[in-house]
């Protein structure tokens, strides 16, 4: 583990935000922190970049100059143009000259924003704002890129473009940590950490998490809930039988990653 959190606990007043959380971040590849609202994802990311000081545990990170961060809410100044935003970030990180200009144009082109560089941040759509913000965070070629819910509320096409951008830099050796509520994004990670109420419910590669699920799986249709450990999927139900025995009328099937995540949450709740 090159960077990340190890056994980190964070309290905000009396509220426990993180409880002995370990999030290993390798030197390259994509690490996804997944969880619902209030699970502690933002706190993990903010602790990783140094905005929050942990009460216990160890945090390792590269120096500020080698880190790029995108908070859940903002990313760029609404009253500055995309170009001006880039210039501000560039000068903050000490980038200058033609190289910087070239990198900026390359990145903007990759996400289809080169025509929008003179538009005010506030005039861009949600998806375009996020794309521009990720570009700004990448200008200084950071070693570690930390993105807090970069695709929440973003339209599908922009989401796809953002993932292309992120995958590209991950393939080139940048380490990416991103927080999300979308299970299908966690499935695309090299390593995932599932959080709930400040605790880690599951961690590892998506395959490993899937393999760690025990018990039997099935699906059913109908209006009423088949068992207490059932949840809705589409028009039907998914059933998990920890004992390995499925009830009558349930069609057995192989669980997918989303099932594994829900099971982990159910187990976490039961504790």
């Amino acid at each position: 583990m090159r960077w990340g959190l190890e056994g980190v606990s964070v309290h905000f007043g009396r509220k426990v935000a993180l409880d002995e959380v370990t999030v290993p971040v390798d030197a390259s590849g994509i690490t996804v922190v997944i969880g619902g609202d209030g699970a502690g994802k933002s706190t993990v990311l903010r602790t990783l970049v140094g905005l929050v000081r942990p009460d216990s545990g160890v945090v390792s990170r590269p120096p500020k100059r080698a880190t790029g961060y995108l908070p859940a809410t903002a990313g760029l100044y609404a009253d500055l143009t995309v170009d001006e935003n880039c210039k501000f970030s560039a000068s903050a990180y000490g980038l200058r000259g033609a190289d910087c200009e070239r990198r900026k144009n390359e990145l903007l082109e990759q996400v289809g924003l080169n025509a929008a560089s003179d538009r005010l941040g506030g005039q861009l759509s949600g998806g375009m704002q996020r794309k521009a913000a990720v570009v700004i965070a990448l200008l200084h070629s950071p070693e570690l890129l930390v993105l807090d819910e970069p695709t929440t509320g973003v339209d599908p096409v922009s989401r796809s473009e953002l993932w292309r951008l992120i995958s590209g830099v991950a393939a080139q050796g940048t380490s990416v940590v991103l927080a999300t509520t979308y299970v299908n994004e966690a499935a695309r990670a090299n390593s995932a950490v599932l959080l709930e109420a400040g605790k880690v419910l599951a961690a590892g590669s998506p395959e490993a998490i899937l393999r760690s699920v025990t018990g039997a799986f099935g699906s059913a249709v109908g209006g009423s809930r088949p068992t207490p450990q059932s949840w809705r999927r589409g028009a039907g139900w998914r059933i998990w039988a920890p004992s390995g025995v499925l009830p009558e009328g349930v069609t057995p099937l192989q669980p997918d990653f989303e099932d594994a995540v829900v099971v982990a949450e159910l187990v976490g709740e039961a504790r």
Partner: protein
Amino acid sequence: MTFLAEAAGISKCFGGVVAVDSVDLVIDEREVVGLIGANGAGKTTFIRLLLGLLRPSAGTVRLFGAPPSTATRRRVGYVPQSLGMYADLTVGENWRFASAAFGGRCGPMPDGVAVREASLVGSLPLGDKRLVAFAIALAHSPELLILDEPTSGVGPLGRARLWEEIRETTDRGVGVLVTTHNLEEAEQCDRLVIMADGRAVLSGTAAEIVGDHKVIEVRCRNWSKALAVLERSGFAVQLHAEVLRVVGPVSAVAGSLSEGNLDARVEVVTANLEETFVALVGNR
């Protein structure tokens, strides 16, 4: 047979801009219809046309078989993305205000809401807020529900729970229209309508929409180099853990990889909903 809501060829122009262009859509009882579109696709304008908040420039809108009016609007429940509740009032106060707004014709508070009656809405976690907003929208027993991004920001189990509530209402006969950006959510719907540039470009179930769309799956030990090689050749590559998914003819993809001296397994597979969406709607 009267649909709960029916839009036939409706269009709306603002000045010279066509926001909605000849859209057909029906919502029947007991079904969940998902309306998906990129920003600027016209979803919000369409919803306002459906609710009668805007008059169409062309085409007809029917709510419960009649043109939209204040009477028919009472039979519709709507939860906007911002949830439409006052953060500085308690759950109980929000409930009573909504009841009064709909003419006091509301049943008693359901348990899920009553247990949080005294909490300020602003202090609730997001999942609870959404459940309360949903309950409030259902308070006056609407027959048609319109939900804007109903599970945005909520985790997987929370999402499943919200969908349980939604399905419970459809089982009782309510028809639901969900608008979303989230294709994961779209897969929960019975039927989808995809809008782009004001037109309904696709409709059907998720499987129908994906149809024959295919992508090339590439598995290679040196996935980062494979990605670089393919991107440089001009392909759009998506990374899923260490597997690449590429849009393009399989021969071209394989050719590119071998040119880069990469040993990779190449397979043609069915595209997922997101890839289909991007292929059909992207880059407009």
